[in-house]
Symmetry: C2
Subunit: 305 residues, 2 copies
């Protein structure tokens, strides 16, 4: 199996690349023609044994997750994908058929979200025990000139979340973290519906508690969450839903009339409110559970990584 043949296999299947790909993959760099002058970029990774389990997870789902994890960052900015670059390190005995299956899944997933693969690199480990690693860089453009950051939350905003949280990673390694849909269309729909009333947004990869604290920190506010309002997956209590990661739903703060559901029926649930920050050392996130007020710091997830 050779890198050159594998990359050619990928790029040949790329025949449907749009007119905005001015230099297709295969040269030293690909070139894309952008509509605007602002470009968003992010990179994320999937490592065997950490984010997926090669022994039990179908290659199609590993390739899918490698791409959707990064696409979810585009959703978080309410942006439009323009292209992706993938870099993969394979164990030396991986085999051409499996490598092609992995790349086919990555390309198909990217294409599903109008995000053509415009670049790639394949390297091989020195030892068969070394783990498969996929890094995926995504490029995107803001829609109508505006990207939604984590930093815009204002006191008295309402805090919303899409979908249902918790239970995304099952004990056997399976679960929704392999099959989730990045909320790109839904985020763009929200930004269009809310305009300047959409203040801050993030995708839930680290878990509701930690990701809410990222918004709070970036915006210099406190996020207060009503535990009873968190939309939990079946069989998951609110503490597990707040601590669990890899939901890849949207968490945002806004004013005004927020739709209660989005295209495809995705629920939008108000779960809390933005408050002034309580001093330098105050908890960034607080949960109200009936009469109890529980600082996020005490829930045990704050200092995990």
């Amino acid at each position: 199996m050779r890198e050159f043949e594998l990359l050619r296999h990928i790029y040949d299947a790329n025949a449907g690349l749009g007119d905005d790909i001015a230099i297709p993959p295969g040269d030293d760099m690909a070139m894309i023609r952008l509509a605007g002058r602002d470009l968003l970029a992010a990179v994320d990774q999937v490592v065997d044994g950490r984010h997926v389990r090669l022994e039990t997870t179908p290659l199609a789902l590993i390739g899918r997750k490698a791409v959707t994890r990064s696409l979810s960052d585009i959703a978080a900015m309410a942006a439009r994908p323009v292209g992706a670059l993938v870099a993969v390190v394979l164990p030396p005995d991986f085999g051409a058929d499996r490598a092609e299956a992995l790349f086919d899944a990555m390309r198909a997933t990217a294409a599903e979200y109008d995000c053509p693969l415009i670049g790639g690199d394949i390297a091989f480990h020195g030892d068969a025990s070394h783990p498969l690693t996929c890094s995926v860089t995504v490029l995107a453009e803001p829609v109508n000139g505006r990207a939604i950051t984590r930093a815009g939350a204002e006191v008295d905003d309402i805090v919303y979340v899409t979908g249902a949280l918790g239970g995304a990673v099952l004990e056997d390694g399976g679960g929704r973290h392999l099959t989730f849909e990045p909320r790109i269309a839904e985020a763009i729909q929200l930004a269009a519906a809310l305009g300047p009333n959409l203040h801050a947004m993030i995708d839930l990869s680290d878990g509701l508690g930690r990701d809410a604290s990222h918004i709070a920190e970036a915006s210099n506010v406190q996020v207060v969450i009503e535990a009873a309002q968190i939309p939990c997956s079946a069989g998951v209590d609110w503490r597990a839903a707040a601590a669990g990661g890899e939901d890849y739903e949207l968490l945002f703060t806004a004013r005004g009339d927020v739709p209660t559901s989005l295209t495809g029926g995705l629920a939008v649930t108000p779960i809390g409110r933005v408050s002034p920050r309580r001093g330098e050392d105050g908890s960034m996130v607080v949960f109200h559970d009936g009469e109890q007020i529980i600082p996020g710091d005490e829930l045990g997830w704050q200092h995990e990584s």
Copy 2:
């Protein structure tokens, strides 16, 4: 050691980011403001045991090479860097000090070439025996609206190479492949001096023979190289110089008055000529050695990867 702290360390040191970074690293995506509407992108990787040796190579040089390998792709297009994203997978026992040293080297190297780090991801392996992996995505803009591809070589172009070739990787793992300077400024200088007479260009990562065949294939021509004219590093014969990789010099085809040296005194040496392609199965690259005509196919490097 936590990813969040490490990334913060990187981004804090990024204080000198220019005004064209509209959203600095630390949000779901960074945003850069481009001068033009065309964007170039490529990704490359450095894996311990394959491209570097963690046991013997200083971390500063590993970080440097991870970035310069990708910057060399920008040189190959005669383009201007706009930003880089790095994704690293570390062994679990790597330690915060070494991780910071690695990232400091990557950031300093990128900054040296006016290519700010605008995004990053850090993941950890499950086992201490798993190798360090760095993938670096680079973004660039064409200069004066034109990127130089591999596909523009024309029959009767003269073929040139910068610097001296061969011996870049020493037996002990050291050598010029760790310390080379990506030829970005020199490539831009060439494009400015030659204008439309600069037809095709590539950086020499796979070795002169293989990289010349990449130009030949993309341009549908044959490249004929005069062995005696190849500028070889001290103690390297032409066959080793043609087969060796990781020179990261420029190989290009052009017409007209080509400078014999570039800024800093880098030599530019004519080494051959572009010929019509000899049928579908003809060798893409041919070497003239005195009276001998040697198809590149017979030199043994053609089918390595």
